[in-house]
């Protein structure tokens, strides 16, 4: 099942490490195994089996989100909801402040016989700005947290091969310590039926 060097496609981790100095500055250079599947269920099973067998699953790359994979990987829940809530709160405060300040304080205006501080007419703008701020906070939160920004170049170095945006599901296993047993790893893999296994190096 494990392929020979000649069969391997282009290196799965294309820009692994540029030189040794970089490696010592930012972390340790570690060996990674990219185990590819063609089906989300097998991927999920593989993650569970590998983790149960004591291997460290660094990440899973997939063309679409797999249900239940966060739990299988043991990832903590996202806190984006809180970000959005705080954004919305800020929007409401800004909207309210803006309207009260311009209409009732800086230049009090009586329009249509309503008091300068008439609250009902503030509902629409306050609502819109609440939603606007919450939405912007959500997107900025997502992009900042995952460092997503327009960049020049090709595929990001963290992505194991081009297939994971098409039809490949890749489980990345990291060799964290010397206790990593290739034989045991191969034994576990042989029960999981991956379509392809490749390896590479990356600084983690």
């Amino acid at each position: 099942m494990r392929r020979t060097e000649a069969d391997l496609p282009a290196a799965p981790f294309p820009v692994a490490v540029r030189d040794e100095r970089e490696a010592t500055r930012e972390g340790t250079r570690r060996r990674l195994h990219a185990v590819a599947f063609d089906d989300p269920h097998r991927t999920l099973e593989a993650v569970r089996a590998l983790r149960a067998a004591g291997f460290e699953v660094h990440d899973v790359h997939a063309p679409f989100p797999i249900h239940g994979i966060e739990e299988a990987l043991g990832l903590p829940p996202s806190r984006l909801g809180r970000t959005a809530f705080l954004g919305g709160l800020a929007g409401a405060v800004v909207a309210f402040g803006l309207q009260v300040w311009t209409h009732a304080y800086d230049w009090p205006l009586v329009i249509g016989g309503k008091s300068p501080l008439a609250l009902p007419s503030q509902v629409p703008v306050s609502f819109e700005l609440t939603v606007l701020f919450a939405a912007v906070a959500t997107v900025v939160g997502l992009l900042a947290r995952r460092r997503l920004f327009p960049r020049v170049g090709h595929r990001p170095p963290t992505q194991p091969g081009p297939g994971v945006t098409d039809d490949r599901f890749v489980v990345v296993v990291v060799e964290r310590d010397a206790g990593f047993s290739s034989a045991r790893f191969d034994a576990v893999l042989s029960r999981l039926h991956p379509v392809e296994v490749t390896e590479g190096w990356r600084v983690l």
Partner: protein
């Protein structure tokens, strides 16, 4: 219990046709982007671009000369311009609605059509925003609508005016729709990046923000999409509500009625869905996406059309009933004038297109028939345009004072600008289907995986 589990086969047809294989989906959706555009695309594009050119010329003429070149007069101060504005904002609603509400309710059929609908939203809002802009007469002073410290007093904008609420509503809606749309596109640009070479790859790499398909990213991505959907749903409702406030907070009979907010929202959904149907019928044919946008999708959209058509019909009925029930002579006159006055043809055109035509969708065969859907969806949009025309013009042209009664006839300039807005809309849409996947890669794959999961469910 009998031995045979009779409930084993629910009457559910698959949403994605053509068998398994995620790679196949990538190929099918990416194919039109990687091929050279066909003759049909060029023909449509040139037609749309010429209309756009015509519209742009007439807009420049209007701005250079003044809005006196339109048919407006002292009694009818809002005509084609505001009708078009409301019409396009309405079209812009189904996109976010399909995407957001159907996402929240986990309706899987949304995945194949959501992207096109979201794109449509953005282009329609661009068209809508154009009209108040040119109606200002001096559009180079458009920035005066924003509240900022200035040397005019500093006299701030009037937060009591629904027209200012509109500024906030439309710009918020545009921003949030754009965010929602672009966030959806990021993983798909990554797919295109990984399939292409050279300059194209670099462009898609730039657009895909360094997407690496990691689970950690997907986790937050899904959360962000749900949050945006949750925010966009009330937003859609609020935007058309505020558009309805432009009319309803005044005291003009025919405008000032409390049912306007939900009535406008239902109308917007109705016309927006009709436009989505029109666009998708053309797109699926032109890009050979019949296996992803199936008859089942069309049928579901036809049902939404039928339902919202009846809601709109119920609103017409309520308005008429209450106009009588109120005992207010001005209210009553306005509605009699709509139905039997000089613009009666527009009123009955509206009723037949919006209430009568959708009734054809009680028939399952009609819901799945492409020609019937195409004709009906076009007629619904004609009807919805005339609904706004009726609201704007017939409520104005016979004022409280009979001495100021008047008639409104659009000039060719106004008709040309309306055509130009269609040109703008279709030009943008045609460019969109050339440069971005019109169906979402990752969402269709997710739907396919759930579909196969359903087929192999444990017994």
């Amino acid at each position: 219990m009998s031995a045979v589990p009779r409930e084993a086969a629910p009457h559910v047809e698959p949403l994605i046709l053509g068998g398994p294989g995620y790679g196949r989906i990538t190929n099918e959706i990416a194919a039109p982007l990687e091929a050279r555009p066909g003759k049909a695309w060029w023909a449509l594009f040139l037609a749309a671009a010429s209309l756009l050119g015509l519209g742009a010329g007439l807009v420049l003429y209007t701005i250079a000369t003044g809005i006196g070149v339109w048919g407006l007069n002292r009694t009818v101060g809002w005509g084609y311009d505001i009708t078009n504005f409301v019409f396009w904002v309405g079209i812009g609603h189904a996109g976010t609605l399909i995407s957001a509400i159907l996402l929240l309710f986990r309706q899987r059929w949304r995945t194949s059509i959501a992207r096109a609908a979201e794109g449509m939203t953005i282009f329609a809002v661009v068209c809508a925003a154009l009209f108040p802009f040119i109606h200002m007469g001096r559009p180079w002073l458009a920035f005066w609508v924003f509240p900022y410290p200035n040397t005019r007093g500093p006299l701030m904008v009037n937060f009591r005016s629904p027209l200012l609420w509109d500024v906030f509503a439309i710009s918020t809606y545009f921003t949030v729709s754009l965010l929602f749309w672009y966030v959806g596109l990021i993983p798909d640009f990554a797919t295109l990046r990984d399939r292409s070479r050279g300059v194209k790859q670099r462009v898609y790499a730039f657009l895909s923000f360094g997407w690496d398909a990691s689970t950690r990213t997907w986790q937050r991505y899904e959360k962000a999409c749900l949050l945006l959907a949750g925010l966009a749903t009330p937003l859609v409702v609020s935007v058309h509500t505020i558009v309805s406030f432009d009319f309803a907070t005044s005291v003009i009979p025919g405008w000032h009625t409390t049912i306007f907010p939900p009535y406008f929202v239902a109308g917007a959904v109705f016309s927006g869905f009709a436009m989505v149907i029109t666009l998708l019928l053309v797109t699926r044919k032109a890009l050979s996406l019949e296996r992803l946008i199936t008859a089942s999708h069309l049928e579901k959209m036809a049902k939404v059309l039928l339902t919202t058509g009846m809601i709109v019909g119920a609103a017409y009925g309520t308005e008429l009933f209450v106009a009588w029930y109120s005992g207010n002579p001005y209210e009553r006159f306005t509605f009699l004038n709509r139905a039997f006055g000089p613009y009666a043809w527009a009123y009955w055109l509206m009723v037949s297109c919006n209430v009568v035509v959708p009734q054809v969708f009680w028939s399952a065969r009609a819901r799945r028939s492409v020609p019937v859907l195409l004709v009906a969806s076009l007629l619904v949009n004609v009807g919805m345009w005339f609904e706004r025309f009726n609201i704007v013009v017939t409520s104005l042209h016979r004022d409280f004072l009979p001495s100021s009664w008047s008639h409104y006839t659009p000039t060719l300039v106004e008709v040309g600008i309306l055509l130009g807005s269609f040109g703008l809309f279709f030009t943008l849409f045609l460019l969109f289907v050339r440069f971005a996947p019109v169906v979402s890669f990752h969402e269709v794959k997710l739907t396919l995986s759930e579909q196969t999961e359903g087929a192999h469910a444990p017994h």
